[in-house]
Amino acid sequence: MMSAIFANLPALQVILPLLFAPICFLLRKRGAAWLLAFCVSLCTFAVSIALFMQVSAAGPLSYAMGGWDPPWGIEYRVDSFNAPFLVLLSLMFCVTLAFSYKSVEKEIVQPRHALFYSAFMLCVAGLLGIVITGDAFNVFVFLEISSLSSYILISFGKDRRALTAAFQYLIMGTIGATFLLIGIGFIYMMTGTLNMADLAVRLPSVMDTHTVRAAFAFIIVGMSIKVALFPLHVWLPNAYGYAPSAASVFLAATSTKVSLYVLIRFTFTVFGAGFAFGAMPLQPILLVLAVTAVFVGSLSAIFQTNIKHVLAYSSVAQIGYMVIGFALASHAGLSAGILHMFNHAVMKGCLFLVAGCVFYRFRSARIEDFRGLGKTMPWTMGAFVVGGLGLIGMPLTAGFVSKWYLIMAALDHGFVGFLIIAAVLAGSLLAVAYVWRIVEVAYFQAPDEVHENGKEAPFILLVPAWFMALLTLYIGIDPSLVVGAAESAALSLLGSTP
């Protein structure tokens, strides 16, 4: 029995949430649906940890779906690049569910709760599938699963604008997915295979054709939409801003990271760094866009009046940092980018959880709602300050570790590196402006009548928020685990290229 489970862990990772999502919907009862989802999330987390341990002990793991050997069948492949992403996804799955029992109760009308939880589980299943699969077409399938369910999640938002936001995201997301499909179609046409490892072997002989170049362009642009890389970021702020709090927490922490994962996976594993950064001028394009993203995102965040929008625009800027790391294409740069993907997920998760706590109390998260929160909701604000310090990149928080490695990586690149460092530092300054503005409001402005009698958020909401806050601090104090994971991920990516 146990050995059967262990042999099929990669399949279980995706099947668990996928299978239980419809059951969750059939349960109908709010409490039962939540409990089922939560149990599934714990199992998923356990599976991801087991996979992570297995991979770090014994190296990459290949699993033939349904007994069909790759490259004919679908291969699930767990290596040191995607194993930590599985852990991150299932961790956020647990944390968000712990948060969502109370939060969803307040934000979504009663009969739809079961629907919310099953859509949420489908979304998680899709994201896990994207990360774990070793088959290019399978990526597209799971991308569609996760996207369709996240449109549903966003449209649950109470604000009517959630519907337009979801619709916009739907259009943009579909274009992105279609581009990815076109790209995959092109390379399938040239090589006759869909397995990533097999593609990597066969592509070099047809590298110099227009078809492969077009495929590469389509995949990069398509995934840039899903990553929300400037100037294709416009769908993101409204989607995160108007979604129900629980959905924004999960999507903000994971969904763009997974898309960036796909981008990195295709660039390094399928096409190879030599093609992407040698033959194609990917580096200058991405660097320019990413640096612009840092400035545009941060400046826009400063002027927002809704905290969720502030955080969403800050995400646009932070995605810029990740893409900078990726675009440097060196071992140091790639590990810095991957490291920041984890760290940012933790910090942004923490901050969106705080926004959710405030939303729970006041049914909105405008900056006025933060007035006097330092006194009325000290624990909530405490978590916000920790997460905010992380975004700024103060020492002893996760953000500092990212900044440190990113600057170290940029130092290897001469003059361009100096420009990048300047951009990173300027981005931190702008982060001070948008984070500390909120802190000032919370601690020094007197609340009006509505907010004067605000109470601390319920304990059950504070637990996940503080869990993420403490995780931010933990990574800041002892980053060895995350840094180690990011470095071996980068090594496996660069090592697998010819």
Partner: protein, 568 residues
């Protein structure tokens, strides 16, 4: 003590108490705890010996969060004393956020001077920044908020420069140790700029003038003690003997004097005076001889004591009367006799009257300048000493406590405030009378005789003539009038001068000046200021929801460019 652990480091009592204070509702328990903190920290310091270091692995590097030598000990003791005085002075404050911020601020200053590597230094540097801004915001005015934001941005910029410089050093040498840095590499200049912002180098000094007068009565006392002194410590450790500092110091010493003489807000006068005094220290560090370094460090020690005394007495006046402009005050000696006496002691000390603390240290830097044949620098310093006596020694006391009677009859401040001031005043006198105690703490052996005939006579002459000058200016009414006014500083260059001069230059070239002027005004207001808000504001083009059509257009444009780039 042989076994060093993180918990017994001298900054720890501050950090622990800072968190604890948040949760203590009873004000007497809180006061007792806060007063115990600097004492506990000082006690921990007494246990340590010189030359020990605590190492800690972090991100694959050996960090040294604690290492001791004479230089850091001196600043450590100084900050313990200063924070005790500042805490005592602020006991009446009910706002717990301010207490927490003050303790974090003082604690990180103590931590910074024992940091043995650049990363630890950066950590304390940032904690100082983030905590001190609360002392400005705590005044809760709109001006204080915006000023705090400016202060925060400038200070964080300094921290980021320090980080960038540290990484550059790490990248080129592989070590993060914080010792002599020097100016051989680019990294040296980047870090010098970082320190320079904190030390209020000329043109980088605006934040002092901007923020200190805006902070709360008690916050100003904390602020005047730590930030610039940590920068002086860092300069002394990293850049001792760097020639450029001599000239930076000389400029720093001179230019604030003119502002201080005409300034009306008395806490701003003190802020300008602080820059001038820090200039003395920078100059001493630049000269770099043993005597000069000793002088710089001793000046820092004295300066913290007498400057906090002056900020406390001006704070008391502001606290009791609600006014701080020289033109609104006067004749307060009748109702505030104790404050008057204490303020005069502080003024005597800052003016380096013999038998007071300031006299002991000032002469050391002057003598060192003469020893190195830096006559011009010596003249600058001498001129500045005269200026100091004029604006700090005479002006402050005269306009507040004597002078034209304003009719204000405020009483002396509460006991704990008087006690704090009394403590500082006692130290001023004590150091003046027994300089040996301070000399024992200095980093190098001292063979400098404080009270020899030349020093005393020269200083007395200087003081006497400045005093005469003041009287003459008063009688002849030639002195700058004490008006309600706003003085322009270097920010005028970028706020006013550059735009104006561009406008004038263009106006000369092009005859139709009126239209052009309107055009440039529009350009500035609409396109630069308005442009930021228009593009990034909640309804700005970069921040609002685009119609789907234009988003898709962007996708097409981007794909087009990718294809172009890839094909050709």
């Amino acid at each position: 003590m042989t076994d060093l652990s993180l918990l017994t480091l001298p900054f720890m009592p501050f950090f622990i108490a800072a968190l604890a204070v948040m949760f203590i509702a009873s004000s007497s328990v809180r006061s007792a705890l806060m007063l115990a903190v600097p004492i506990a920290s000082g006690f921990l310091l007494l246990q340590e010996q010189s030359g020990v270091a605590l190492t800690m692995p972090f991100m694959g590097y050996e960090l040294v969060p604690f290492r001791t030598d004479k230089l850091s000990f001196l600043f450590g003791y100084l900050f313990c004393i200063a924070s005790f005085i500042a805490i005592l002075f602020s006991l009446h404050v009910k706002d717990r956020v301010q207490h927490t911020a003050g303790l974090f601020y003082a604690g990180s200053a103590v931590g910074a001077v024992f940091a043995g590597d650049l990363l630890s230094l950066f950590f304390f540097w940032e904690v100082m920044t983030v905590s001190s801004v609360f002392l400005i915001w705590a005044r809760q005015t709109d001006g204080a908020f915006r000023c705090g934001m400016r202060y925060l941005i400038i200070q964080v910029a300094s921290g980021l420069l320090l980080l960038a410089g540290a990484l550059m050093i790490l990248h080129s040498t592989g070590s993060l140790a914080f010792n002599e840095i020097g100016l051989e590499s680019q990294a040296g200049y980047v870090i010098l700029l970082a320190f320079g912002i904190k030390a209020a180098f000329p043109l980088l000094h605006n934040w002092v003038i901007d923020s200190y007068p805006q902070s709360t009565v008690t916050g100003a006392v904390f602020l005047c003690c730590f930030t610039t002194k940590v920068a002086v410590y860092a300069l002394a450790r990293g850049y001792a003997g760097a020639d450029i500092l001599i000239y930076i110091g000389a400029v720093m010493v001179i230019f604030p004097i003119f502002y201080a003489v005409i300034e009306n807000d008395l806490r701003r006068v003190l802020s300008y005076s602080m820059i001038s005094k820090v200039g003395f220290m920078v100059c001493g560090i630049g000269i770099g001889t043993e005597l000069a370094i000793n002088g710089a460090v001793a000046t820092a020690f004295n300066h913290v004591i007498y400057k906090s005394l002056l900020f406390m007495s001006m704070g008391s006046v502001l606290h009791m009367t609600g006014r701080i402009r020289a033109s609104d005050l006067g004749g307060l000696y009748k109702s505030m006799p104790l404050t008057t006496i204490l303020c005069v002691i502080g003024a005597a000390s800052i003016s380096a009257v013999p038998l007071f603390g300031g006299f002991v240290s000032k002469g050391m830097i002057l003598t060192a300048a003469l020893d190195q044949k830096l006559d011009f620098v010596w003249l600058c310093l001498l001129f500045a000493s005269a200026g100091t006596f004029y604006y700090a020694g005479i002006k402050i006391c005269y306009f507040t406590f004597f002078g034209q009677d304003s009719g204000l009859r405020a009483a002396d401040p509460p006991k704990h405030m008087l006690l704090a001031m009394g403590l500082a005043a006692a130290m001023c006198v004590f150091i003046g009378l027994y300089p040996a105690l301070l000399f024992g703490l200095l980093p190098f052996e001292v063979d400098y005789i404080v009270y020899d005939t030349t020093h005393v006579l020269a200083q007395l002459q200087l003081l006497a003539f400045v005093g005469l000058g003041f009287v003459w200016l008063k009688i002849s009414k030639l002195g700058p009038p004490d008006l309600r006014s706003v003085n322009l500083d270097v920010d005028w260059i970028y706020r006013k001068f550059l735009p104006e001069s561009i406008r004038c230059a263009l106006g000369l070239l092009i005859a139709d000046y009126g239209r052009l002027k309107r055009f440039f005004c529009d350009l500035f207001h609409q396109y630069i200021m308005g442009g930021l808000i228009r593009h990034h504001g909640p309804h700005g083009i970069l921040a609002r929801a685009w119609p789907i059509g234009s988003m898709v257009l962007w996708v097409a444009v981007l794909l087009f460019f990718y294809l172009i780039f890839y094909y050709f």
